[in-house]
Symmetry: C2
Subunit: 190 residues, 2 copies
DNA sequence: GTAAAATTTGACCGAACGGTCAGTAAAATT
DNA sequence: AATTTTACTGACCGTTCGGTCAAATTTTAC
């Protein structure tokens, strides 16, 4: 029992330090020595737990996309009314960007590399594309039930996903209303 | 006369090669040797023309933000009808992202570093912030003339600027209509 | 308590990085 | 034509990079 906790502790320290640094400076802007110092361990210890920088990054990426996915879909899971589902999805995505800026910055920074890069990080790409597909499926359902306001599900998905690039976080609540108003046929009340 | 052309030619080759590479891999992901090889010159010759990697990047950044600004504002310059101004602004921004993907990818990749980084690249930040302010002023004018649809000028500006992060370019025309429809009170005709 | 397993460390590696500088060739100036 | 200036080169620099590995230390299993 005590060993279990200790094992996770070092690996977790490394992951958390790396996540913060990747979020601040991007994958290429952070060295393994930077991560080691921020974790309070030696660089070679990182290689004990992770075979390479890429594998460390990929694990972090998959964790953060998981976290985003869980934040959104755990909220909309029991809901059957598609309009309400879409509202909750938009709301949760914006809240995520507002409240978990470390993660949303990491996604904003590294999305392009993950999507356009070589096949080295194929699992990272699959994870991200999988989540986007899942979100798009919600909009497809909205389209089928005729609650969408003449926007393609893929366009709605891309608009949502671009929100993490917005620099001025103070406008995010305004943008949330904006998105709901435009995506949904139903008039939005406050 | 002949010298003038030749001077510009080498420097221009370096700038163009660097721009392309920075757009593909980001500032930190590209080495000066990469740029040298892509330019067909020696690395030390880059240092003959530019004192550092940062200065090279800054010049490129300022050029691309200039180009974006010119594309947008040269189109709306003679227009006095604010609704038409806003429509043209949105249209030109989307067209820029669609047609000049090297530049829009560069902006998407490096915006966060430029805005959040240290003061080393203060001119790059000033340039970008200046353009965003200029765009926001257009929306402010729209607000004053009551053609905006209950969206804050700063939120509209941020939505527009996030468009360069959109990965799936095929949806951009749909998003253009989307943005016009929701930003402007007037109903949009095709 | 002891041996084995797991974790951690320090020293090291070759390659890559941003950058420097003396020398040379070409172009421009006198 | 001689001299000066400009453009370019190759070799080099110290530092940093991702990564390796034997040894030391700590933890676990019995």
């Amino acid at each position: 029992m005590r060993k279990e906790v200790k094992d996770n502790e070092t690996k977790t320290k490394i992951i958390n330090a790396a996540r913060k640094l990747f979020s601040e400076k991007g994958f290429d802007g952070v060295s393994m020595e930077d991560i080691a110092q921020a974790s309070g361990v030696r660089k070679s210890l990182i290689y004990y737990y992770f075979p390479s920088k890429e594998v460390l990054f990929e694990e972090i990426w998959i964790n953060v996309i998981d976290e985003l996915e869980n934040d959104i879909f755990s909220e909309i899971e029991g809901e059957s009314n598609i309009t309400r589902v879409i509202k909750k999805l938009i709301k949760k995505y914006i809240e995520f960007v507002m409240n978990k800026s470390e993660i949303s910055k990491l996604i904003a920074r590294e999305r392009m590399n993950v999507l356009d890069g070589d096949n080295q990080m194929g699992n990272a790409k699959l994870k991200y594309v999988g989540l986007m597909k899942k979100i798009e499926n919600v909009f497809e359902k909205g389209k089928q039930e005729d609650v969408l306001n003449d926007i393609e599900p893929s366009a709605a998905t891309e608009m949502i996903s671009a929100v993490d690039s917005i620099h001025k976080k103070s406008v995010l609540k305004n943008i949330e209303e904006f998105l709901m108003r435009v995506i949904l046929k139903e008039k939005v009340e406050h």
